[in-house]
Symmetry: D2
Subunit: 329 residues, 4 copies
């Protein structure tokens, strides 16, 4: 168990503030150059597509936090309405919406369905924006925490980063395979920097500047089996922040709730890796990415690199975003 002092020393080491200018809100995405983008596209050999996003709806894993529920998908107009709306809608003075929809239905055969979603931006497959986690009243690059008001994140919102695609080379590090545990790394030893190195070496891949690193722990596959969204599993040790810093990785994502290990390795500190990555390094975390099919394919052809396109929605001032990342081999 590390001390707070040690945590702060590491924070000083990995801090990228000012590295790309005082106004920078991209952080380590700056590592992705046009050359990275072009080289990532060149990895597409077979035209095989792997969507890494999970289902958004009532089957999700939420429930542990009171501030995050599963996406609530509600129909505003559905297929059962069509034949009766024409009868009741036009008469419904208090319901302009009913009159609007029935006016469409009175004018020809066209019928439609429409829907709404109510969801925490981090309910399912997601990016954490740099403004998601902080300490000492400052966000990444020293922006004041108070710049995140009820109206969203003025600085370091998720809307600041889509200019990067986010498209780059993705590299899968399969810890389930490394540990030989089959489908799930149970809670216990956190995943260490050494294991990341070893996984890369075993798989024959070299993590390079600008890569998006995907770490498979098997958590999502386990959840699909059990339906238990609250079961913890092994995640990255907080010291992996330094590893990501040294490798000049652009971003990191995993198939679990929070990339990092649920049990903190720093005494009296929750989410140390979140703080180091998001706030000090300016490195985004991707969570709840389903890596199962991709990992199976990589194991089969022994190719652990691919083009990765992971575009967040440009939610104004969002401190996270749902997305559907696409890996292409």
């Amino acid at each position: 168990m590390a001390s707070m002092t040690e945590f702060r020393r590491v924070a000083d080491d990995v801090r990228n503030w000012g590295r790309w200018g005082d106004d920078d809100e991209l952080g380590t995405l700056n590592f992705i150059t046009a050359e990275n983008v072009q080289q990532a596209a060149s990895l597409v050999k077979r035209g095989k597509v792997f969507p890494l996003g999970v289902d958004f709806g009532s089957s999700g894993p939420q429930g542990a936090f009171k501030f995050r529920h599963n996406p609530l998908h509600v129909m505003t107009i559905d297929g059962g309405d069509a034949n009766t709306l024409a009868e009741f809608g036009p008469k419904w003075l208090q319901n302009p919406l009913a009159r609007e929809v029935s006016s469409y239905y009175e004018n020809g055969p066209m019928r439609f369905n429409d829907d709404i979603i109510i969801m925490p931006l981090q309910a399912a497959t997601q990016w954490d924006a740099l403004s998601h986690v902080y300490y000492d009243d400052q966000l990444y690059n020293g922006f004041p925490a108070s710049s995140v008001t009820s109206l969203g994140a003025f600085h370091c919102g998720i809307d600041k980063v889509d200019c990067k695609g986010i498209a780059s080379r993705g590299v899968l590090l399969d810890i389930c395979a490394l540990r030989g545990v089959g489908t799930f790394c149970e809670l216990g030893d956190p995943i260490t920097p050494n294991e990341l190195d070893e996984a890369a070496r075993t798989q024959g891949v070299i993590v390079a500047r600008g890569d998006v690193v995907l770490v498979r722990t098997g958590w999502w596959a386990r959840f699909l089996e059990t339906g238990d969204g609250g079961e913890p599993g092994a995640g990255l040790d907080w010291r992996c922040a330094s590893w990501l810093h040294d490798h000049e990785v652009a971003a990191v994502a995993s198939d679990n709730l929070m990339v990092e290990n649920p049990v903190s390795g720093v005494d009296g500190v929750l989410l140390p890796m979140h703080m180091l990555c998001l706030r000090d390094m300016g490195l985004m975390l991707g969570e709840y990415w389903d890596l199962t099919a991709l990992a199976a394919d990589c194991a089969a052809d022994r190719v652990y690199e691919f083009q990765l396109i992971a575009p967040p929605l440009r939610v104004t001032g969002g401190v996270g975003s749902p997305l559907n990342p696409i890996a292409i081999k």
Copy 2:
């Protein structure tokens, strides 16, 4: 003005039901093969990325329909809370959420922001799912309209298509440039199949099977200037459905509300092209895609083809999805 009889004759011509099997819910996305995916990636020459998604938030264009409002982005926890939550949260018996958040803050320096979005799935940059529009009680491929209940679309939901990426070659047809109108095709003559052909010819690009065609009308740029989300502009003539059918296009998207022309060309029929594309052909429509920067780049280098990755969120039973499409050249 065409008659309903003519509309139905065209519908018979372009209908793809059964073409890819009775269970098919992919429609014209079936045109995208692994070869298409691979060839699209090979178009990436300069590593230049164009996000085509617009802002999701209060700056959006919604307001015309009572069933669609702008995305409502609300913070559940923000930067102004941190310093006072520790004082009040723990005492707040009726508010378990306050106690939960303050319990985190009592344990070390970690602070966080979190947020929720409430949005029509078609509020901003979007895909229409095949279940969005229909007639004669049937969806694409003959699935019953009644299979879309309050619980979503059992058939032809947006969650059925992400296996395709959606990644393929994108081709921009710039109608603003063709018509020489600068930034916006005002409402007036709808965009005809001939104009699509001419735009392709002028630009030196050949639309091929499996392409995603992006049609620039300038609507989004106009909206950014005026802030008027209700101003109509020229869209595709309904007969373009046949053109898309003949070219075996995988999908079509535009920078406006509904791809097709706001004034229907079929007597007594609203949204004829929606009905033909979504319901008869099984061809998805993309709306509110911002094509401005991409068009400027294409005009500069005279290359109108690119890799396009446009992944919808896998909303269970969604009849549409927000997304951030990425074009890469």
Copy 3:
């Protein structure tokens, strides 16, 4: 265990369709006359007020049904924003809301907080509208079930009944006291019509036409102790529908999830009392009413009647409504 046949025979007996005209959507609220209203007010002797509504928020009992979550209360503007909005809001082009709020703050000392609630209409203290439950494709008074579309209940919505106040005499029947179980009637024997009679007799009160009957089972008090919203408790036997019919009661409410017993007394039929009351009799059910303080007062002064004012929100086409019922003695 009764049979479906018996259920249908009782349904025929208690059915009030046509009793107050073919267009009636008030049902047994018709029993409340001006005289009832006046007489109820005359029961106010001490000016003592009992709010029967529970907390709306994250402390609620929801969780058992996927279609009902606890009320989600979110601030759109809060007290932490004031001092920083003036700095960032005006600069935020993509966020018209931020500019709007900061424009207020630039003009003088006024600051404000504002909020939104997202809630199932039956998440906490509530009325079931007559359109909430039905069978055989018909609502109360024979209205077609299809008149409830995605746009709400055209017939028998909660918006149809507030003309009644709902203000009348309330009568508390304290089953906890009758059974001598202290604070909670555990799941086991359902509460029978005989028990209702006996409670009234013991308490020295006579249930009369137009009364709103409040049945205390102690469920809410138990929930406040345990926090377990899923624990079942004893509720009314389905045959109490006939009792309510015979007494020409205006409405019935209880301190639990569904007034009636969780274990159905009719073979193969869920919620038999809901079907009889709402659909056949046109009698509204009130749920999650906190009767603890009121019951204590009644036990102390032996007066079990009072003025009851229980106004639903006039939600257009709502099939239920949250409310805060007020008893006055």
Copy 4:
């Protein structure tokens, strides 16, 4: 036009901080005694009920503020679903909600409808909580503005006041009648304290300690005619705060957006009366109350006093609440 200095002098005059103790969060509701409650009930002579709440739904007046939209009422289950859910629901693995609902439908004839509302707490008929508006970093009674976080109002939330019913004598002051303008007091001269006195005198009613004063300006009737929720009308001059203070009124409500006049009478100060009433006096404001039918009845029988029951929902930490106030004569 008054100066800020004058505003602050009035604020000092009307400030009730400490008047009912340092912990008080009831403000002027403290004026309501058991005697008031009892006496108000005694005013019920004819048993005539007037619901003062408006429709909650798409017909509402919202649109002017980006932080307030009309209530969005959405069905989670409706009458069109019943006959097809049994077919598709059980098969829908990704949709546990569909499986849950269809499991009910497989077990007997019971069918149900359910719904959700998404609404600003001040979208329609409402109470402002004392925490809604403030200045100089302090709420009513000196509580810090920072006690209102993203998690709601720890102090002076709407959940603090329902113990009062809110039940007391209501007194209608009909300014439309006083001014002889028929149905609507157009924007122009604000309503002065003298006019309040004169209206009371003309109507033969004396405003007394603990009353809830209802001021009719005709705005809601006008809105129902025009559908224009943005049209301003005359409201109370800010000096009416002193009048309300002197009369020891418990609360005030009106049929318009904000009780007070839209054009501020204090130089460089928005919403001066809101600040004085909510923050200095601790006096709640009721807005969008429909007084049309009540006023007609009062004009007919010349009785302008009645029992008023106006219970807010106990939204945990809410800075306002929807309600349906009931007047009984």
